[in-house]
C-alpha cells in the first residue's frame, strides 16, 4: 500500500488526499440523512399504530358485545372495527385466523402469519408487510381476550408506503448524486492541481533540456511569486555557480594547454629549423636556447603538479604536520636567492616562531614569494618572521614598483600574469602566487599583498604552533 502510494504521481496523490475525505464526509451525511429521517418517520408511524391498538382496546371495552360477540370463523356476522384514517385493524384468534377487522382490513386477509402474530403480540416486534393494493404497511400487535377469555391478537397497521418510497427515493438520489459530486470534485481538483503544478512541469522540462545539452543553462522562472518561483531562482543560482566553476576549470585547462604548448612549439621549431637548414647552424646556441625552453617547461610542470597535488589531497589535520620553524626556513630560502643584483636579508623578530604546517610547503610558499620579489625588486628584499597572538607571520618586502591595488586579488588566480610581467623566461606562468594562496588556505591561514611604499609587502599568516601548545595544556 505504501509502495503503491509512493508510486502515484504527486498530482494523483494530492487529488486523492483532497477527494477521499470529502467523499467520506458526503457518504456519511447521505447515510445519516437518509437513514435517520427514515428511522424517525417509521418510529412516528409505529407510535401511531401502537396508540391505535390501545385506543381500540378502549373501544372494545366500551362496546364489548359489538366487538367480540361473534364466534370465530363465522363470516358475515362479525361486527366491523372502526376504520380510522385508512389505518386498518385486525383481530386474530389463537390460531392466527382472522376473526374480524376494520372495514379496509377485511379484504386483506390476515396481515401476519401465526408466528409473526405471536412475536408482534408477545415480544412487541414491528413488521412491515406488503399488502398489495394498499402498499406496504407497518404492523404492531397486542394481546387481548374475548368475552369468553380466549386469547386474541389485536393488530394495528399504518400505511407506510409513501414514507418508505420517499426514503428510498432519497437513498437513490444519494447513491447516484454522491458519486457524481465526488467525480466532479475529483475532476476539478485534478485540473486545479495540474494547473498549480505547471511551473513544476516547466522546471522539469527546463532541467531535461539542460541535461540534453541546451545552450542556455537556465531554468524557466514562474511569474507567480510562490515557492516554485523561489525554487527556480535557487536552482538557477546553483546552475550559475556550477557553470562558473566549470568555466573556471575549462579556462584553467585551456591556459595550462597553452602554457605547455608554447615552449614545446618553440623547442620543436628551433630543432626542426636547425635540422632542415644545417648549413651555418650554431648548434651550441641552439642547445642553450632549447635548454631555456626546457627549463621553462620543467618549472611549469612542477607548478602544475604542485597545484594538482594541492587540489587532490585533503588538508592535513592538526598534529599530523610540522611544526615548521620559520626562522631557519627563511634563512635557507634567502640564501638560495641572495645572488646577482638583489640582496635578500632576513629579519627574525621572534626566533621561536613555529607554524603548524609542513616545512616543505612553507619552503615552497616562501620560495615563490621571494622569487617574485627578487624579480621585481630594485635592489633589496627583506624576509621577515614574527609572531602575533595565534599566528606565525611571514613577510616578504621588496622595493620594486609594487602592484596596483585593483590587481592585488587577481594575481592569486591561476595563470594571472600582469601584462608587464609577461616576459616568459624570467617570470613564471602565473602559478606561483596561486600555489601560495592554495597552500596557505589549506592551513586556514591567509595571505595578503600591501603597499610597502615603495614596493610590495606580501604577508602570510599561518596558525602558530606555540598557541596550539597553550590550548592543549
Amino acid at each position: 500500500m505504501r509502495r503503491w502510494w509512493r508510486h502515484r504521481s504527486l498530482r494523483a496523490r494530492l487529488m486523492l488526499v483532497t477527494v477521499l475525505p470529502l467523499a467520506a464526509v458526503i457518504a456519511l451525511i447521505g447515510f445519516v440523512t437518509v437513514d435517520a429521517t427514515g428511522r424517525a418517520t417509521l418510529a412516528a408511524a409505529e407510535q401511531t399504530a401502537r396508540e391505535r391498538v390501545r385506543g381500540d382496546i378502549k373501544i372494545a371495552t366500551r362496546a364489548p358485545n359489538m366487538a367480540f360477540r361473534t364466534a370465530p370463523g363465522v363470516p358475515g356476522t362479525a361486527p366491523t372495527l372502526p376504520d380510522v384514517f385508512g389505518q386498518p385493524m385486525q383481530v386474530l384468534d389463537a390460531d392466527g385466523r382472522l376473526v374480524t377487522g376494520s372495514l379496509s382490513a377485511q379484504s386483506l386477509g390476515a396481515l401476519l402469519d401465526p408466528e409473526e402474530a405471536r412475536r408482534a403480540r408477545d415480544e412487541g416486534d414491528v413488521f412491515i408487510v406488503e399488502t398489495g393494493t394498499a402498499g406496504r404497511m407497518l404492523v404492531v400487535g397486542r394481546a387481548a381476550t374475548d368475552q369468553n377469555g380466549r386469547p386474541l391478537t389485536l393488530l394495528s397497521a399504518v400505511p407506510v408506503e409513501d414514507i418508505l418510497r420517499s426514503v428510498e427515493d432519497r437513498r437513490n438520489w444519494m447513491l447516484i448524486g454522491g458519486p457524481v459530486a465526488v467525480a466532479l470534485l475529483a475532476g476539478t481538483v485534478w485540473v486545479a492541481v495540474g494547473f498549480a503544478l505547471r511551473p513544476v512541469t516547466a522546471l522539469r522540462r527546463g532541467a531535461q533540456a539542460i541535461a540534453d545539452g541546451a545552450q542556455r543553462r537556465r531554468l524557466p522562472v514562474a511569474d507567480a511569486r510562490d515557492e516554485i518561483h523561489d525554487l527556480a531562482l535557487t536552482l538557477n543560482d546553483m546552475l550559475d555557480r556550477l557553470a562558473a566553476a566549470s568555466a573556471r576549470q575549462r579556462s584553467f585547462t585551456a591556459d595550462a594547454a597553452h602554457e605547455l604548448r608554447s615552449p614545446l612549439a618553440s623547442v620543436r621549431a628551433q630543432l626542426e629549423v636547425a635540422l632542415a637548414h644545417p648549413e651555418g647552424q650554431d648548434w651550441s646556441k641552439t642547445g642553450r636556447d632549447v635548454l631555456v625552453d626546457v627549463q621553462r617547461l620543467t618549472r611549469l610542470s612542477e607548478d602544475l603538479l604542485a597545484l594538482a597535488r594541492l587540489d587532490a589531497t585533503s588538508p592535513a589535520g592538526p598534529g599530523e604536520v610540522g611544526p615548521a620553524d620559520l626562522g631557519p626556513l627563511a634563512a635557507t630560502v634567502a640564501e638560495r636567492f641572495d645572488a646577482a643584483g638583489v640582496s635578500v636579508a632576513v629579519d627574525v623578530g621572534d626566533p621561536e616562531t613555529r607554524a603548524v604546517a609542513s616545512p616543505d610547503e612553507v619552503d615552497r610558499v616562501l620560495t615563490n614569494l621571494v622569487a617574485n620579489a627578487v624579480r621585481h625588486a630594485a635592489s633589496r628584499v627583506v624576509v621577515g618572521v614574527r609572531a602575533e597572538p595565534g599566528w606565525a607571520v611571514l613577510t616578504v618586502i621588496d622595493d620594486g614598483p609594487g602592484i596596483p591595488a585593483e590587481d592585488r586579488e587577481r594575481v592569486f588566480e591561476r595563470f594571472t600574469r600582469l601584462d608587464d610581467a609577461r616576459d616568459q623566461d624570467a617570470g613564471g606562468a602565473g602559478l606561483g602566487l596561486a600555489i601560495v594562496a592554495e597552500t596557505v588556505s589549506r592551513y586556514r591561514g591567509r595571505v595578503a599583498l600591501a603597499d610597502a611604499g615603495p614596493g610590495l609587502c606580501a604577508t602570510v599568516w599561518l596558525p602558530s604552533a606555540a598557541t596550539r601548545g597553550h590550548e592543549a595544556s
Binding site: 605547455l260 604548448r261 608554447s262 618553440s266 620543436r268 621549431a269 626542426e272 629549423v273 632542415a276 636556447d289
Partner: protein, 225 residues
C-alpha cells in the same frame, strides 16, 4: 616574398625567421600586437604569421584592424589555443588559415606558400554594398545600421547577389547556387524571393538595390541602391 612573423616567443620567432630566410623569404619579426600592427601597416607584406596570445593587442584584434584598414595580405594564425571556437573566431575575423602549436615547421612553410599563391585580393569577412551589410559568420544583415531579419533562403539569395554585386546574374545561375543544381520546380520562385528580399531590404528604406535587367536576370547595385 616578404613575411611578417608576430609572436612573443622570441626564440621560436627567431628560429622561424632563420628557416624562412633559408627558404628565400624576407622576414621581419614583431614581438607584440602593437608592433605587429604597426609593421603590417607600413611594410607591404605578402603574408603575415600571427600568434593569438600577444602582449598589448591580441592576435584577433590585430587581424580585425588590419582587414578594416584594407590590408588583405594573407594571415596565417598561430596559436597554442586549439579550441574549435578559437579557430573559428580567427577565421571569421578575416584570417586565412590556422595552425595549432606545436606545429611542424614543414607544414608551416607549405601553408605559407599556399597562402602566397592565393595572393592579397580583398576577401572581406563581411560583405558590403553601400550601407547594406551582410556578415556570413554572424548570419546578420543590416541596412543603414538597422538590423534586417531574413529567412535562410532570402539570406542565401542576398549573399549570392552581394558576392556578385554590380554584375548581372541570370535566374538559372541563382537557381543553381541558391536552390539546388537539380531544382525541378518553377523557376519563377526566384522572382518571388527577389520580391520578398526587396520588401525587406529596399522598400522600407526607400531604396532599390536589387534591380531587374529585362531578359538577362538580376543585379545588385554595387553602391547598395
Amino acid at each position: 616574398m616578404r613575411v611578417l612573423v608576430v609572436d612573443d616567443e622570441r626564440r621560436m620567432a627567431a628560429a622561424v625567421r632563420r628557416g624562412l630566410e633559408a627558404e628565400g623569404f624576407t622576414v621581419e619579426l614583431a614581438f607584440d600586437g602593437e608592433d605587429g600592427l604597426h609593421r603590417a601597416r607600413e611594410g607591404a607584406f605578402d603574408a603575415i604569421v600571427l600568434d593569438i596570445m600577444l602582449p598589448k593587442v591580441n592576435g584577433y584584434e590585430v587581424c580585425k584592424r588590419l582587414r578594416a584598414a584594407g590590408i588583405w595580405a594573407p594571415i596565417l594564425m598561430l596559436s597554442a589555443k586549439d579550441g574549435e571556437y578559437d579557430q573559428a573566431d580567427g577565421l571569421d575575423l578575416g584570417a586565412d588559415d590556422y595552425l595549432t602549436k606545436p606545429f611542424s615547421y614543414v607544414v608551416l612553410v607549405a601553408r605559407l606558400r599556399a597562402l602566397l599563391r592565393r595572393g592579397a585580393a580583398p576577401r572581406p569577412a563581411v560583405l558590403e554594398a553601400g550601407d547594406l551589410r551582410l556578415d556570413p559568420a554572424q548570419r546578420e544583415v543590416t541596412r543603414a545600421g538597422t538590423s534586417v531579419s531574413l529567412t535562410p533562403r532570402e539570406f542565401a539569395l542576398l549573399e549570392f547577389l552581394l558576392r556578385r554585386r554590380g554584375e548581372v546574374v541570370s535566374k538559372t545561375e541563382i537557381l543553381r547556387h541558391v536552390w539546388d543544381a537539380h531544382y525541378e520546380g518553377d523557376p519563377n520562385v526566384v522572382e518571388v524571393y527577389v520580391g520578398y528580399l526587396r520588401r525587406k531590404i529596399d522598400v522600407p528604406f526607400g531604396r532599390a538595390a536589387v534591380q531587374m535587367v529585362r531578359g538577362a536576370g538580376y543585379r545588385l547595385a554595387a553602391d547598395g541602391g
